[in-house]
């Protein structure tokens, strides 16, 4: 993958296919994306990210948020969506589709990562 095509920092090529769907700005929008996703989408994202998440956070933590470049910001947004997806996969499992309907009523109105 050439540098110009790359959406994410080097070393995270395995996550490139998820950028379009999961690099989302805003906590409420990420929660909504989780609600609209399919089990297959969630599993694929979770499996691709679970062993890269520690490294991604450690690498991004080296810079203050306002100095992240576009690629790093996308990785950060992916990580934040990953928090939602990890709850779906690790906590809810098969109950996620039913649970999504219940969460819909709880409207996120303010968050530090908006």
């Amino acid at each position: 993958m050439s540098l110009t095509e790359r959406q994410l920092p080097a070393g995270f090529d395995a996550l490139e296919p998820f950028v379009e769907t999961w690099a989302i700005s805003g906590t409420a929008a990420r929660a909504q994306r989780r609600n609209e996703s399919s089990p297959e989408e969630r599993i694929a994202f979770y499996e691709a990210f679970k062993d890269l998440a520690e490294r991604a956070l450690t690498q991004l933590d080296e810079k203050p948020l306002e100095r992240l470049d576009d690629q790093e910001r996308r990785l950060r947004d992916l990580l934040l969506s990953f928090a939602h997806v990890a709850l779906a996969v690790e906590l809810q499992g098969d109950a996620e589709p039913e649970h999504a309907k219940l969460r819909q009523e709880l409207r996120i109105t303010h968050a530090p990562a908006d």
């Binding site: 520690e54 969460r103 009523e105 996120i108 109105t109 968050a111």
Partner: protein, 399 residues
């Protein structure tokens, strides 16, 4: 001061003996006339949590809050000297609402209709052709609502002369609250919902763990174990109209799944770096504010009545520093969403409970010993309604 130590914590049997047993009337949980009494006896004269000072950080910062049960729109303003004051969001000329925005920053508030203009202290600064009103400007200030700040939380009281300050009202709990993150919060995660339920029906759900293994079979698993299959709290305590419980600590909880564990660890390390340290505590504060402190996180849950069988819930998780790194953002996103996942599960049962009660066929409720906190709220509400009716009778029926 430890959050739990300010309550007199008792084992369940002792607490139950103290408060008594037997069924209670279901009427306060649905009846419109009874709600009107509670509105007057409690909500129009209690300290109510409506915001946090971090929402109005600078002089001129304001938030607007709609308090439906009082038919009030409030403008809560940070004054020139850092003071916090709530006003009715209404021009004193002919009542036009001054502000439509939910929040913002201004040096003055000008009425859109005839340009009466008020300062941050509510004083009328100017009004076109004011001489023709033959009135004194000092009589035309914005109408104040009693406002006090405790532990960073903004409380208002519609009683123009409250019998107690907010600090007196909370007694020793005030100091305990000052030591939790909410007191120095600079940011928060918030979600809100409306529910077809009486405010007590809504609050009561969070006052008992009896429903845990049915409603939260999966998400509540760490809070239950073979030694305590219901996940019952280990003690209950009372302090005036307020109450608390001590959650049982599972000696062998199931392992935390990997990404949640990573998030918890990073969150705990960052909280330690920030010097955030406080005991696990639970504050169920009269009338409708619940504060849960589960280190390193803390959240508040307000059950604001909108009518006899409708309530607005607002949950806020408070943060003591700005989210200035990816790890902070990640740990907060995950912590908040995991609480939201659990709380989402209660709604269908609470609404079904309300639907079953509202025609009065179920005329009484059975509270078991581990539903002692529901009984305490019932009794506190009952005693205030009775006192209000006595006052009204003494005043010859005048309201």
């Amino acid at each position: 001061m430890d959050g739990q130590q300010v309550f007199k914590m008792l084992p369940v049997e002792e607490a139950a003996e103290l408060l008594g047993r037997g069924p209670v009337s279901s009427l306060p949980y649905y009846d419109p006339d009874r709600w009107e009494l509670e509105r007057r006896a409690i909500f129009m004269r209690s300290w109510l949590h409506v915001g946090h000072i971090c929402e109005i950080p600078e002089p001129g910062s304001f938030i607007r809050r709609e308090i439906e049960f009082a038919r009030a729109s409030l403008l809560i303003v940070r004054g020139k000297h850092g003071d916090v004051q709530a006003f009715h969001n209404a021009c004193t000329h002919r009542g036009t609402q001054l502000v439509d925005e939910a929040s913002g920053k201004r040096s003055r508030f000008s009425c859109r209709y005839h340009m009466w203009t008020f300062g941050l202290d509510g004083a009328l600064v100017s009004a076109p052709d004011f001489e023709r009103f033959h009135a004194a400007k000092e009589d035309c200030s914005l109408k104040q609502v009693q406002t006090q700040v405790l532990a960073g939380m903004i409380f208002i009281n519609f009683d123009p002369a409250p019998k107690q300050s907010v600090r007196e009202f909370f007694g020793p709990i005030a100091d305990a609250l000052e030591q939790t993150p909410v007191a120095r919060a600079v940011d928060f995660t918030e979600w809100t919902y409306e529910i077809e339920a009486n405010w007590k029906t809504s609050f009561d759900n969070y006052q008992e763990n009896y429903h845990l293994r049915v409603i939260h079979a999966r998400t509540g698993r760490p809070a239950m174990g073979p030694e305590n299959p219901f996940g019952y709290p280990t003690s209950y305590g009372f302090c005036g109209p307020h109450r608390s419980q001590t959650l049982w600590k599972n000696p062998s909880p199931p392992p935390i799944p990997p990404i949640q564990l990573m998030s918890v660890r990073r969150g705990a390390a960052l909280a330690e770096k920030d010097g955030v340290s406080f005991p696990k505590s639970d504050f169920k504060l009269f009338p409708c504010l619940h504060i849960v402190a589960l280190p390193p996180n803390q959240f508040s849950h307000t059950h604001m009545p909108l009518g006899p069988t409708r309530t607005r819930g607002q949950i806020r998780m408070y943060w003591t520093s700005k989210a200035d790194s990816a790890s902070r953002q990640f740990a907060r996103e995950m912590a908040a969403m995991s609480v939201r996942d659990v709380l989402a599960e209660d709604r269908p049962a609470i609404e079904a409970c309300q639907r079953g009660v509202s025609n009065g066929a179920i005329d009484k409720f059975y509270f078991q010993d581990h539903e002692i906190l529901l009984r305490h709220l019932y009794e506190q509400v009952e005693s205030r309604v009775e006192a209000y009716l006595a006052e009204r009778a003494a005043a010859g029926g005048a309201q």
